[in-house]
């Protein structure tokens, strides 16, 4: 038996195992049974008859989608068949693992010291009265905040939010990424091309070159019409828009993830984006999902977490301050608070280099049976976390659907943007890709900025860490995220960052200080994402 054959056998077995434990399996079985009991099916062609009936009812599409998403998730986890301990599967490189651990410890300490300073617990059960009060205010939490409560005497009390501060900001995380150094790497002498003394990132990971990126993003070529440019009002619709819409309707009807993905590579038309994203992510709601969300909501009511205040503060500092997103404030709480209680998120730590923080129920310190993760989903929000959700609010007006789309996007893409890992999609690789691409494309600009003490990554890092949300106009963010989903890769983020530097080159060449450079790149709201990407990828 050859290795390949064995591997594919293994794969089949895995797929089958996955399917059997899914609810789809039961549904299929029930439908097949119903079909088999029909009187118009002859016993001789029972198998064929049942199969045909299942196909006619669209079950083959559901099956295909389920298998596609399963395989994609596997691929996402590791490029090769990973071996070794779970720790090694999470992150194979020892010093990267250590960097992540040290970083987590720092976060824990800062969270603990905040608790001690403010003398508030990390989590407590809400009294009955407070629960009821919060339930009433569920759709308008933005007014008074989650920790707020109207006392019996009518006096408002709550935690003083001015004392709550974000646990960390992109700047702090950049320090971690920059500080990473391989102990086995010969110190930065000048050894050929593998040494990059210009940039800030000092790890030698393999990142793609411009040519590889061109191949990967070939659908973005200048010769190809793109949604978001060629369907604007000033372009006659018969050139592109009419055909695109017609094709889009067909794609939507097919409801098949790979087809949606292929179609979305040239951007999603605004009216179809919500559905296309659902197809690409495999989000299909049933009544169980609705119930599950309701349960999460009841968990939010039951317990008061410090993380709620962090999220609340974050929304106040970011989305509420943003003229595009402030209307969604209440919406954001309805997503973020249940998200922090969702233990489904814990599963993604199997392939994330991060580890969820641990704690013990009060008075049971060190007793393993009373060990819990905190927060329940294991994710401690940072300054700007709410911006991962904000652009999605334009797409879905149903909170439950919005919740599941965000959850899927988080466990598939966004978690990589704030954990230290050697994964090619991780923030370290993306930062390196940004620096190398900018050095290769605009060497004089990079050199100039470096000379005046303004490392480009110091500006671009926050863009990438937030996937540009809040930095670009919201419609442009959605066009950008179309490409993340369609190409199933975050590499478009550093490419865009390079494009922005390249686009503002003339002004940047004149700056002499870091602040001046930051000012040149402060306002990106007028930028058009797709032409910029094309500029960076294909203009030279």
């Amino acid at each position: 038996m050859g290795t390949l054959e064995q591997k594919s056998d293994n794969l089949f077995a895995n797929v089958l195992c996955f399917l059997r434990s899914s609810s789809l399996f039961n549904e299929l079985l029930c439908t097949a049974q119903d079909e088999a009991q029909r009187t118009n099916i002859r016993i001789t062609d029972l198998k064929k008859g049942v199969q045909n009936a299942l196909v006619a009812a669209g079950w083959d599409r559901k099956l295909r989608n389920a298998i596609y998403h399963f395989l994609q998730a596997r691929l996402n986890r590791s490029s090769i068949e990973a071996q070794g301990s779970p720790e090694q599967i999470k992150e194979p490189i020892t010093y990267v693992r250590k960097a992540q651990l040290a970083w987590e410890k720092k976060i824990l300490k800062s969270l603990n010291s905040m608790c001690t300073e403010l003398t508030i617990p990390l989590a407590r059960r809400r009294p009955e009265r407070e629960q009821k009060d919060m339930m009433v205010r569920w759709t308008e939490l933005g007014v008074d905040g989650p920790a707020f409560m109207r006392g019996s005497s009518g006096i408002c009390r709550g935690i003083d939010l001015s004392q709550i501060r974000p646990v960390y900001a992109p700047k702090d995380f950049l320090d971690v990424v920059v500080g990473m150094q391989n102990p086995n790497c010969t110190s930065t002498g000048n050894i050929g091309s593998s040494d990059y003394p210009w940039g800030l990132v000092h790890v030698s990971m393999k990142v793609k070159g411009l040519n590889e990126l061109r191949l990967q993003y070939s659908e973005l070529a200048i010769t190809q019409c793109q949604t978001g440019i060629d369907d604007l009002h000033d372009v006659p619709p018969e050139l592109f828009d009419t055909d695109r819409t017609r094709l889009g309707k067909k794609v939507l009807a097919a409801k098949h993830a790979p087809i949606s993905r292929e179609f979305s590579k040239k951007g999603c038309p605004v009216s179809m984006r919500a559905d296309l994203w659902c197809h690409m992510l495999g989000v299909e709601l049933d009544h169980v999902d609705v119930l599950y969300y309701e349960q999460l909501k009841s968990y939010v009511l039951q317990h008061d977490l410090l993380v709620d205040n962090l999220l609340y503060k974050d929304v106040k500092l970011t989305a509420t301050n943003d003229d595009q997103y402030f209307v969604f404030e209440d919406f954001l709480y309805q997503i973020l608070l249940p998200f922090s209680r969702d233990t489904y998120i814990l599963r993604h730590f199997a392939y994330n280099s991060a580890t969820p923080p641990k704690s013990y129920i009060r008075g049971k310190l060190g007793v393993e049976e009373f060990a819990v993760t905190y927060p329940p989903n294991g994710v401690i929000p940072f300054h700007g976390f709410a911006m991962y959700v904000a652009p999605l609010c334009f797409l879905y007006n149903d909170v439950v659907q919005l919740y599941y789309v965000f959850r899927k996007m988080y466990v598939q893409y966004f978690f990589r943007l704030h954990s230290v890992s050697s994964h090619p999609q991780g923030i370290v690789s993306l930062s390196l890709l940004f620096e190398q691409l900018l050095q290769a494309e605009e060497p004089e600009l990079f050199y100039h900025l470096k000379q005046v003490g303004c490392q480009p990554l110091k500006i671009a890092f926050k863009w990438m860490m937030r996937a540009f949300s809040g930095f670009l106009a919201s419609d442009q963010v959605l066009l950008l995220w179309d490409r993340i989903l369609a190409f199933d890769s975050l590499e478009v983020l550093p490419v865009l960052a390079v494009a922005i530097f390249s686009f503002r080159k003339t002004n940047l060449m004149k700056v002499q200080t870091f602040n001046a450079a930051e000012a040149v790149l402060a306002d990106l709201f007028t930028l058009q994402v797709i032409p910029l990407l094309q500029l960076a990828l294909f203009s030279k």
Binding site: M1, Q6, D9, A13, L16, R20, S21, S22, S23, F25, I80, A82, Q83, G84, Q88, P92, I93, K105, L108, K109, N112, C115, T116, P121, L122, A123, R124, R125, P183, N184, C185, T186, I191, G192, S194, D195, S204, M205, K206, Y292, Q295, Y299, Q302, R341, D342, T343, Y344, P357, K358, S359, Y360, I361, R362, L365, E369, F370, V372, T373, S422, P424
Partner: protein, 217 residues
Amino acid sequence: MNNKPLICNVKTATIPTVDGRISTQTGCKIIDITFPNVVNPEVGEVCFQNYYVAFFTLKAKIKLTEQTPREGPNDHGWRMVVRRYQLMPDPHAENGAQDCFTITRQQFSCDLNQLISLRLILQQPSPLWKDFGLEDLKLFKTTGAPRAPPLPSWFMEEGKSKAGKKELEGVPDINSLSSNLQQLWALAEEVAANQTDESLGRYEVDGCYDINLLAYS
């Protein structure tokens, strides 16, 4: 792993010398393995964790007997088993530098029995790394990789038509009845084995989730 690793003597890695001088930048290391306490050693699998080795070569010295086909007149029994197996896709980059590898019989170009010794040749052409080597080196007699569970029969016999026909006459006999019952039992077992991994989403312990501080672990 379901079987124990072979007992063997792994010598420390040596750097090959040129004219008696040792250069640290040769990018090559040699590890010799002998089997002092094993009769007729046989190796079916080599497992290790990589540490910045780019290419892995495995050579074996086998006992030459009358039946062994010779390779030329000066055959001392050395056989090439694995030639320049690539562990790091790019020697200059971290990828694969600390991954775990299992090299099994399928990758061997000849069978490893009647062994006298094994020689591992490690190569790292990139000057970027201070050191390189293998960790957790283990040899196994048989392939210990987890076997794939057998595929269900309906998956394999696609298109094959059932030849046997059952005749039903009134009440089925006791044999078929019992076999049916057995099937039912098997089905129940199967269902029990296929529990979904859908969790209930509970995060508290006994309804309690009062926490003061986080634990450092």
